[in-house]
Amino acid sequence: MPESKSKGMGVGARRVIAYIVLIIISFFCLIWFYILLVNATRSHTELSSGFTPIPSTHFLENWKNLMAGTLPILNGMLNSVIVAGCSAALCVYFSTMTAYAIHAYDFKLKKALFTFILAVMMIPTQVTALGFLQLIDKMKMDDTFWPLILPAIAAPVTFFYMKQYMDSTLSISLIEAARIDGAGEFRTFNTIVLPLMKPAIAVQAIFTFVSSWNNYFTPALVLHTDTKKTLPILIAQLRAADWLKFDMGQVYVMIAFSIFPVIVVYLIMSKYIVAGVALGGVKE
């Protein structure tokens, strides 16, 4: 005990420092949302004259202009929700399954497959994207959601996380206990392993959801029909508008609008990430 006093600062002082640092960090995290919102309230001409931190009064006007335009914004929102939601669900479920296969079983090709999947992670997506495009064209999946959703099943990065998480938390004895109870392997996975992985699943679900939500590169290559497009493409389209229609106010409103659902999803998921699982909840 005396050691602790000589070594560390007093708890009070550390707490003060922690609060100060946390407040500064929070400021830097939130300021962007404020700027976005402020910009969404400003008209195109106000925006082009530079940044000010004071909100203006054009929010509703921008919003009305945006909705009056021909871009199917609400449709885009729905598309984004479908694509990002399905990707996230498929991604976490199958990545956990894959990680479980490597973690819980011993088979001949285990090591080779593990290394193989890790190697997959190191391949830059940009180049394969073009081959990917030719492929989906041959498979007649052009202008559909499938090429955006299905590949999420094979997500090495998520798999790797699940595997690492299992290494530190999921003990084999638990699984064996389930086997003794006579549960089938598939059932064991669904009813015992998945619930135990909740924090990891929540984390990866939100990551996948967000990256799919914000993805422009692949959807822009795949989707051509306006009513099938996701929000980032519509935003790009709005920004590429001709001079008569170009309106940064609308662009900012649309960005704000497209961030809103992610925030909601994030706040829902954050319950699991932040406080939902009590310490040690994963061990029994």
Partner: protein, 306 residues
């Protein structure tokens, strides 16, 4: 792990791998193989005219190495990654330590934990728009600095090597530190609380607990963070691409490997692009192996700790 009764379940290992391998095989392996295959061909498009594919052996590899630019871009990439990653991991560890330290009893934890990931919710392109506005020569940052008397002339952030790299690093750090922190916290939540109790009974300080218990048990997650950040770093693209309008200026000092690769995709140059991808793959693999070795990834250690 090596219990005998496990053996009869092993076929399930394969079964559970089927979805991953099938989807991977279809959507990624085919394009991937063609990438490697293409790297040995002259294969690009001039306007709408397809040139090649003509087999040219390792000519593509020779041409990407011959200019020496490749190492410059590799250097740029690593510098910007390190500039962003070091503060990122330090902040994440610090926050992780604070949040997991029961003696601090921080209030509003939920708020802080929630907030840190929020920057990641903003699209990189939207983020870059905001950065442009803020760091413009006549923008608010310059006018604040001038009012404070720190500088007398507006500083052209986009025209100096240091500030461009710094902004790229800052943006990456800001966008991803929350991600890292969440990963670490999720890992920390998985640690058996009895270990912390035992430590406090033994009279360990918060610092000791962190370094002796939390950190070692976090190792798999830390390795994960290191490797994925490294890979993400080597594949750094959108932030510098948007911030420099794809030029990587000044004088390509902020051009990353993937931005370079992207330059070749304009002409659908699968040959050079393929060769670059193979190069990138090899570099990534080497660096990842170094991290694995360096961190001594021995699962057994952690297994015993439990």
């Amino acid at each position: 792990m090596k219990k005998s009764n496990v053996v009869k379940y092993n076929k399930w290992g394969y079964i559970f791998l089927i979805p991953f391998l099938t989807v991977y095989g279809i959507f990624q392996l085919v394009p991937l193989i063609s990438t490697v295959y293409n790297s040995f061909f002259e294969n690009y498009r001039s306007g709408l005219t397809q040139i090649g594919p003509n087999f040219i052996g390792v000519q593509n590899y020779i041409s990407i190495f011959s200019t020496g630019d490749l190492w410059k871009y590799f250097g740029n990439t690593m510098i910007m990654w390190v500039l962003g990653f070091v503060p990122q991991i330090l902040i994440s560890l610090l926050l992780g330590a604070w949040f997991s330290d029961p003696s601090l009893r921080l209030k509003c934890q939920r708020f802080f934990k929630t907030v840190i990931y929020m920057p990641n919710l903003i699209m990189a392109s939207a983020f870059a728009m905001l950065f442009f506005t803020l760091f413009a020569t006549t923008g608010p940052i310059n006018s604040i600095l001038q009012q404070l008397g720190i500088i007398s002339q507006p500083y052209e952030f986009m025209n100096h090597v240091g500030s461009v790299r710094g902004l790229v690093a800052a943006m990456n750090c800001l966008m991803w530190f929350g991600n890292t922190t969440i990963l670490l916290m999720a890992g920390m939540m998985g640690i058996d609380p009895s270990l912390f109790e035992a430590a406090s009974v033994d009279g360990a300080t918060a610092t000791q607990t962190f370094f002796k218990i939390t950190l070692p048990l976090l190792k798999p997650i830390l390795i994960y963070v290191m490797i994925t950040s490294l890979i993400g770093g080597l594949q750094m693209f959108d932030v510098p691409q948007i911030l420099t309008n794809g030029t990587g200026d000044p004088m390509r000092t902020s051009m990353t490997l993937i931005m370079y690769l992207n330059k070749h995709l304009f002409s659908k140059n699968y040959g050079i692009g393929g060769a670059l991808s193979v190069f990138l793959f090899i570099i990534t693999a080497i660096l990842s192996i170094i991290i694995f070795r360096f961190s001594g990834n021995r699962d057994a250690v952690q297994k015993k700790a439990k």
